[in-house]
C-alpha cells in the first residue's frame, strides 16, 4: 500500500485513530505491534458490549424478586451491584485506552515529521518494553487496590442508598432496591432516635479523637521533658518502663484493662475496697460518663509511650546552639522551653499529630475491646449505639450484629465526609504538590 505520506496530516491521523483503536498505527505509522494490541483491546470491548449492557441494567434495577425460584437461581442484588461497579470501571478504562491510543498515534506522527522516517522495529520494541514494564510493574498493585479497596469503598458508598438490611432485604433470599436518600433522612431527623444517636456518636467521635490525641501527646511530651531536664541518673530505667505500653499489642492491653476494671470482679475495685478507699464499686465501664472518661484515660496509658519516644527524638534534633544563644541572652529555663523547645517540637510533630487524630477517629480497638461500645443508653435498643460507641464501632455493630448494612454504609459515608479534609491536607503536604508537580 503506497500511502502518500506528504498528504498525511495530523488531523487525518487523529481521525483515523478515533475511528478504530490502533487503525492509524497500522495504516499510516506502520507500527503493527502497537496497532494490533490497540485493535485487540477495541475488539474485546466490542465483543463484551452485550455483557456490559446487561450488567449496567442490572446495576440500575438490582434485580427483581423471583420468590418462586429456588434461592440460588434468584437475582442476587449484591453480586449485581458489585459487577455493575466493576463494569463502570471497565468502561472508563476502555475510554482511557482510547485516549492513550489517539495520543500515542499523534505523538508518533509528530516524531515522524521531525525525524522524517518511521520508528524502526528496535525503537518500537524499546518503547513497548518500557511501557509494558510500567504496566506489569503496576499491575499487581492496581488489581489489588481496584478489587479490594476502590470497588469495595464505592460499593459501601452505594449501599448507603439502598435498603440492604435484615430482615426483609438480605441477599440471596430477597432482592435489594435503591431507596435514594431514605437512610440519610432517617439519620437526619426522620427518626428521632436515630437522629439523636447520630448526633451523640458523631460528637463523641470528634471529642474522643481530640482528647485521645492531645492527652497522649502532652502526656508523652511532659514525661520526655522531665526525663531530659531533671538529669536524674536512672532516667533510662524509667524510659524502659514507660515504653512497655507501646510494646504490648493493644488488643491485649485493652482486654486486660477491661477485666481489671470490671465492676464487681475487677481487681481495681476489689483492691480499692480492701484498702477501704471506697465502699461501693465504681462503675468504671458501665456508667455512660465515667466510661467515656475511663476510655480516654486507658488510651492515655496505651498511647503516651509513642509520643514520649517521638518528642524525645524531636528534642534531640534541636541544635544545641539555639539553647546556648538563648542562655547567653539571659533566658530562664521556662522561657527556653516555651519559646524554643515547645514550638519546635510542635512544628516537627504536627503531621504526626494530624495522622494520630485521623487514626483515633477510626480507633476501633481502643473502644471495642475495652467497652464494646457499651454501656447501654436510652436509644441503644433501636440503634444499637452505646454510650462509648464511636462511628466505626457503631458501624461494626450495625453490620456484623444487626445486618443493617444500609445504615452502616450511611455512617461510613459520614466518615468519608469527616476524613475528606484530612485527605486534602495529606495531599497538600506532599513535596510534589508544594513544588507544583506530581
Amino acid at each position: 500500500m503506497k500511502m502518500n505520506m506528504e498528504s498525511l496530516t495530523e488531523k487525518k491521523v487523529r481521525n483515523t485513530s478515533l475511528l478504530f483503536m490502533g487503525l492509524a498505527h497500522i495504516l499510516y505509522l506502520k507500527d503493527y505491534l502497537k496497532g494490533s494490541v490497540f485493535a485487540l483491546i477495541e475488539l474485546i470491548f466490542l465483543v463484551s458490549i452485550p455483557k456490559v449492557i446487561k450488567n449496567i441494567s442490572n446495576l440500575i434495577t438490582l434485580g427483581t424478586p423471583k420468590p418462586h425460584l429456588p434461592i440460588f437461581q434468584r437475582d442476587n442484588s449484591t453480586y449485581m451491584l458489585f459487577d455493575g461497579i466493576i463494569t463502570i470501571i471497565f468502561i472508563l478504562l476502555f475510554f482511557l485506552m482510547y485516549y492513550i491510543s489517539v495520543k500515542s498515534a499523534r505523538k508518533s506522527y509528530q516524531e515522524y515529521k521531525i525525524k522524517g522516517r518511521r520508528k524502526n522495529v528496535r525503537e518500537s520494541l524499546a518503547d513497548i518494553s518500557t511501557g509494558s514494564f510500567s504496566l506489569f510493574g503496576l499491575l499487581p498493585a492496581l488489581l489489588l487496590v481496584v478489587f479490594f479497596v476502590l470497588v469495595p469503598l464505592i460499593f459501601s458508598a452505594c449501599v448507603a442508598f439502598t435498603n440492604y438490611s435484615a430482615p426483609n432485604h438480605i441477599t440471596p433470599n430477597n432482592v435489594v432496591d435503591w431507596v435514594g436518600l431514605d437512610n440519610f433522612r432517617t439519620l437526619f431527623g426522620g427518626d428521632i432516635l436515630w437522629g439523636k444517636a447520630l448526633g451523640r456518636v458523631s460528637l463523641w467521635t470528634l471529642v474522643w479523637a481530640l482528647l485521645a490525641t492531645t492527652t497522649c501527646f502532652f502526656g508523652g511530651f511532659i514525661i520526655a521533658v522531665i526525663l531530659r531536664e531533671s538529669k536524674i541518673k536512672i532516667a533510662p530505667v524509667f524510659r524502659g518502663i514507660f515504653i512497655l505500653p507501646y510494646a504490648v499489642p493493644s488488643v491485649i492491653s485493652m482486654l486486660v484493662w477491661q477485666n481489671l476494671l470490671n465492676g464487681s470482679f475487677g481487681t481495681v475495685n476489689r483492691t480499692l475496697m480492701k484498702l477501704g478507699i471506697i465502699d461501693k464499686v465504681i462503675p468504671w465501664l458501665s456508667d455512660p460518663w465515667l466510661a467515656k472518661f475511663t476510655v480516654v484515660m486507658i488510651n492515655l496509658w496505651a498511647g503516651y509511650s509513642y509520643f514520649m519516644l517521638l518528642t524525645t527524638g524531636s528534642m534531640t534534633a534541636i541544635s544545641q546552639d539555639i539553647y546556648d544563644a538563648a542562655r547567653i541572652d539571659g533566658a530562664n529555663s521556662f522561657q527556653v522551653f516555651s519559646k524554643i523547645t515547645f514550638p519546635l517540637v510542635i512544628y516537627q510533630t504536627m503531621p504526626l499529630l494530624v495522622m494520630s487524630f485521623t487514626h483515633n477517629i477510626n480507633n476501633f480497638g481502643a473502644i471495642f475491646f475495652l467497652t464494646g461500645g457499651k454501656p447501654v443508653v436510652a436509644d441503644s435498643a433501636t440503634t444499637s449505639a452505646g454510650g462509648t460507641d464511636i462511628l466505626i464501632t457503631w458501624i461494626y455493630d450495625l453490620t456484623i450484629n444487626l445486618q443493617k448494612y444500609n445504615m452502616g454504609a450511611a455512617l461510613a459515608v459520614m466518615i468519608f465526609i469527616i476524613l475528606a479534609p484530612f485527605a486534602i491536607f495529606n495531599f497538600s503536604r506532599t513535596k510534589s504538590f508544594k513544588e507544583g508537580e506530581l
Binding site: 453480586y79 479490594f148 469495595p152 524509667f238 512497655l244 510494646a247 481487681t267
Partner: protein, 274 residues
Amino acid sequence: MRTLNKIIIYIFLIVTALITIYPLLYVFSAAFSKGQSISALNIIPFGDGINFNHFRYLFKETNYLNWFKNTFIVAALTSALTVLIASLSAYVFSRFNFTIKKTMLMTLLILQIFPSMLAMIAIYVLLLRMRALDTLWGLVLVYVAGNIPYNTWLVKSYMDTIPRSLDESARIDGASHLTIFFRVILPVATPIIIFLAIVTFTAPWMDFIFPKMILRSPEKQTLALGLFGFVTDKKSEFGSFAAGSILVAIPFIIFFILGHKHMISSFGAGAVKE
C-alpha cells in the same frame, strides 16, 4: 527548693511507672495463678503462688500452637507481598512517566485515609465469590491490598531521593529495568524496606475484624481470635488469656525495647519525607 523539686519529680515518675506496670503485673500474676476467672484472682500479685496450669491447658487443650502458626503465616506472607508489590509500583511511579500517573497517585493518596473496615461487606462478597472465605490467603490478600496505597507513597517518596544518575549509569551498562530495580534501587532503599517489612509484619498479629469475618473453622483461627475467645461475654478464662497473651507479648516487648530508637527515627523519616 532544689531537693523539693527533685522529690516531686521522683514521686511523679514513680507513680507513673507504677500505673504503667500495674496491668502488666496482673497479667503475669493471672497467667501463673490457679483459677481461671478474674474474680478469683488474688488482689496481691502472685498471692497464690506460682502455677503452670494455664500454659499446660493452652498447649494441650486448645489450638494455641495452630493459632500461632496461622498468624505467623499470614503476617509473613503479608509482609513479603506488601514489600514486593509496593516497592515495585513505587519504583514505576518514581522513575517512569505515563498518561494517568498523576490521577493514580492522587487516588492512592485519598484511598489510604479510609480504613478497609469501612468496606467490610463488599470485601466479604468478593471473597465469597472468589471462594476465598475461610482461607488464610484470602486474609493475606485483604491485608496486602489495604497496605498498598499508603506504602506505595512511602516508598516512592524515598526512591525519589535516590539520584537518577545511579539508574542511568546502570542502563548504559545494559541493565534491564528489572535488574536496575533489584540490583540498584532496592539495595539503596533498604532502610525504608526494612521499616515497611517490620510494620506490615507486626500489624496482622493483633488484627481482629478481618480474621473474625473471614476465618470460620476452628483450625484456621488466628491468635487475636483465639485470645479474644477466652474472655467473651459468655465465658471468662482470664488465666488462659493472660498466659496466651504474655507468650505473644514477650517477643514484641523484647523487640521494641531493642529497636525503639531505630523505629522512631524511621517513623519520623517516613512521615516527614513525603
